[in-house]
Subunit: 106 residues, 2 copies
DNA sequence: TTATTATGATACCAAAAAGTATCACGTTGC
DNA sequence: GCAACGTGATACTTTTTGGTATCATAATAA
C-alpha cells in the first residue's frame, strides 16, 4: 500500500492518461479498444493503463483473454482530498475560483 | 501561453512541489525560506518553484533582491475543471466519493 | 489440432526530469 | 567603494519516463 496520493497525481500528469480517463468514462474498454484511439503502439497504451491502475484510477477485470479497463471514480478521492485542503484557506477566494471553473468548462 | 492544464497537472505530480504548495498556503516565502524546509539545494528548490510558476500555481514578486513566492488559488482552476468533468458522469457515485474524501481528510 | 487473437513481459532507446555544483549579477549594508 | 547576500543561469550527472520492438503465453475459433 504505497503512497496512493502520489500514484494518483503521477497518473494524471500525462495527457494521454487523462484522455484515457475521459475515454473510459463513457465505456469500459479492452486494451486493444483503447489503443485504437491513440497514435501509439498497444504496448505503450498498456503501460499507461498500468500507471492508471497503480494510481487506483481504473480497475482491470479479466474476461477470457481480454482485460476490461474500467474507471474507478473513488480513485480520484486522494486527489480531491488534497485539493480540498486549500479550500479551507481561501473561502473568500473560492467564489472567484468557482467562477473561473465554470468559465473554463466547454 | 501553452497548455495550462498540462502544466498545472505536471506541477502537482511531484511530492516536493505539493509540499511547497502547502507551505506557501500559510505564508508567502522567499526562495531561501522555502529551501530551509527541504533537504535539497536552493537551486533544486528554485527549479521546483519555476515549474509551479509555469503551471500558474504560484506568482513571484520581486522585492529588492528577494523573490516572494505566493500561492495563486486560481491556478488550480484548470485542474478542478478537468476533475469536474467526471462529476457529470457519476452523480450517483458522487456521494460515495464525497464520503471517501471526508474520511480521508485529517 | 492448428491458427489466430489478446495480452503480459522483457529488453532497449531517447527524451525529460530531478538534482548538484558553480559562476555571474544585482541589492543591501557597512 | 566593498563585502556579503539572494538570486538567475548554465553545465553536468543520474534517474525516470514514454515509447518501440519482440517474444512467450493463454484463450478462442476453425
Amino acid at each position: 500500500m504505497p503512497d496512493q496520493t502520489q500514484n494518483a497525481f503521477r497518473a494524471l500528469a500525462d495527457p494521454t492518461r487523462r484522455d484515457i480517463m475521459r475515454l473510459l468514462s463513457a465505456n469500459a474498454l479492452t486494451i486493444a479498444e483503447v489503443s485504437t484511439h491513440f497514435d501509439m503502439t498497444r504496448a505503450a497504451v498498456k503501460k499507461h493503463l498500468t500507471v492508471l491502475n497503480d494510481g487506483g484510477l481504473i480497475t482491470v477485470e479479466a474476461r477470457g483473454r481480454e482485460r476490461i479497463n474500467q474507471i474507478n471514480p473513488l480513485g480520484l478521492a486522494p486527489v480531491l482530498s488534497w485539493l480540498e485542503f486549500f479550500d479551507h484557506f481561501w473561502d473568500d477566494r473560492l467564489a472567484d475560483l468557482k467562477t473561473a471553473i465554470e468559465k473554463d468548462i466547454q
